[in-house]
Symmetry: C2
Subunit: 350 residues, 2 copies
């Protein structure tokens, strides 16, 4: 069944407001969850709503108030997120960084103690639509599923990095983890008893494996960094950069041994207009896209696709034909609607 995006946003905003989220913040979170669904990332979209509501009800996610501004000067700000929704915090941080970048050429916000950050790709157009480049680095100081390059024990997180690059046409929307695969994908495949598409894990003795079970073994195996056992120093460099930007600058990371789950986040915006100008920037980005598209595809591929290209095509389709929700998401939303006494959006007629 498919649903019009706006009705899903209304439903999510009402559910979040009713369980204690400030109205404006609820709207932002609802929009960005549904944005993830539009882009085709169903596991990081409105599927998360029920768990967010549960966290609000338990008081482990905070619904009201603003982040504490610990520092704000020049091109930077440094916030304590107080376990407010990571979704609204990142959106707010992008808005703040956009303002600072308009003024100084660059703007950045570091956030400690953000609640769940959902889909990083969903935030990028908030900046690229205004002709700005944006970078988001996020990590959980307690996450330890990924082994350092050359090591066996999981001590790092998947450490995702996202970048939005404006062009004259569709933006480039990069969203990637430093590890080859993600905790979420491994958990999903583990639940069905299947194997990963490649040997993206290693067991506790360092043998490459595609079997999610090696992560829950005792002692546990680990996820491999991008480049794997062959050239995983690439993913290692990226993971260290992400952890330094997110946990280092926010001052909230592995040194604290914080007992409670949270995300440390770094958001930066760069204004091309401050440098050579947005037109020049977009000309270069456009030329790059054209060259990549012009490359003959490898026999295993139908075309060279830029990061975000497939997601933006899905979004165009979903804006016209509605968002198809997975059965498991629909079950969760139906249950939530009953419990909160909210009517579920009407599916589109086929």
């Amino acid at each position: 069944m498919s649903f019009p995006g706006p009705s899903l946003i209304d439903f999510a905003a009402r559910a979040l407001t009713q369980t204690g989220t400030d109205g404006d913040a609820a709207r932002v979170v609802a929009e960005l969850l549904v944005e993830a669904d539009l882009l085709g990332h169903g596991t990081h979209g409105i599927d998360l709503l029920a768990s967010y509501v549960a966290e609000l009800e338990r008081g482990t996610m905070l619904g009201t108030g603003e982040p504490d501004i610990l520092r704000d000067h020049g091109a930077i700000a440094h916030w304590d997120g107080r376990w407010l929704s990571g979704v609204r915090l990142i959106a707010q941080a992008i808005d703040t960084a956009l303002e600072k970048a308009s003024r100084y050429g660059l703007g950045a916000v570091s956030i400690r103690r953000a609640h769940h950050t959902a889909c990083l790709q969903a935030y990028l157009e908030r900046a690229t639509q205004r002709g700005m480049m944006v970078i988001i680095a996020s990590s959980d100081p307690r996450s330890a599923t990924v082994a350092p390059f050359g090591g066996l024990d999981p001590v790092l997180g998947p450490d995702p990095l996202a970048l939005g690059i404006p062009t004259h046409g569709d933006p480039i929307l990069i969203d990637m983890s430093s590890s080859i695969t993600t905790n979420g994908m491994v958990a999903r495949i583990a639940a069905t008893g299947g194997l990963l598409p490649g040997p993206w894990l290693q067991d506790n003795a360092g043998r490459p494996s595609a079997d999610p079970k090696v992560l829950s073994a005792s002692p546990p195996g680990s996820m491999l960094l991008a480049g794997g056992q062959d050239h995983g120093h690439k993913g290692f460099g990226m993971a260290l950069a992400v952890e330094a930007l997110s946990q280092g600058l926010s001052g909230h990371g592995r040194a604290n041994a914080e007992p409670r789950w949270s995300a440390s986040v770094f958001v930066q915006v760069i204004d091309p207009a401050a440098f050579s100008g947005l037109d020049d920037f977009a000309d270069q980005a456009e030329a790059l896209v054209r060259l990549c598209h012009g490359a003959r595809p490898h026999p295993d591929f139908t075309a060279v696709r830029l990061p975000g290209e497939r997601a933006l095509a899905r979004k165009r389709h979903a804006l016209q034909h509605g968002i198809v929700l997975h059965a498991y998401t629909l079950t969760k939303l139906t249950e939530l609607s009953r419990r909160l006494g909210l009517s579920l959006p009407q599916p589109l007629a086929r």
Copy 2:
């Protein structure tokens, strides 16, 4: 034969001054070339001196004057490097970015038309020694040896990214290309007729290969991005980010079809003191290093090493025992010393 670093710096500075480089700039270039030697990157150190002198004599590298400042406001500057040495330009850009970061929390400089940039790792301590984080992205708009993920034709460059992260002890010095291997390594192995350590290339039909000859075939093969044919979207994201930062912001890239070789460079400095503070930052970085060092090594490794760790150990050794120059470097320097009438430094007694 090994030589004391300071005598090599003096020799290089004299050679550069004598062939038309301003005194201060010559000193900076000489110091940074020898810094690369100290860190153990012999191919990107004083070995380059003879070619730099040749470029100065031909007028293809400019020795005198300053970059044109196209924009300078707030946290950013935008320069035309006029084919001045990329080495002195990057050093100068870091100094400018350091000043801006001290004031605004962040500082960045984009440079178009820089001459050769040598070893990116050699610049990083210039910032980390002052408690700052530094990022350098560099690319050559005409370089096309790397295929986009899913593609067959080489349209991208190796697109290196370097990051310096201060800690309480040794800094983390990341310097990595977006491609698995580099143009330089492929050329070196091609010259000896050997094979790469892994299938880091593909031939023109997309078959993985370790043979450098596939790159000079007609039509040519290509270098693979980090992650290879399995998960090369990671390296692809990195390459696109590097090209957007360097060529996009400088407004000088693939859209220009510039006939003359040059580098486009982006340099950014982040001041941890502006965020949670340098102590907090270094605590987090230190904890990260400790966790990585604490991981048991994979059977194929003797220990988990952080990026730059081996290079800094080499530097400590070379500062005490001198820099060992390769025979081919020594031959070039001997020839250069004769031609310019400069006396070669005395090797250290064994």
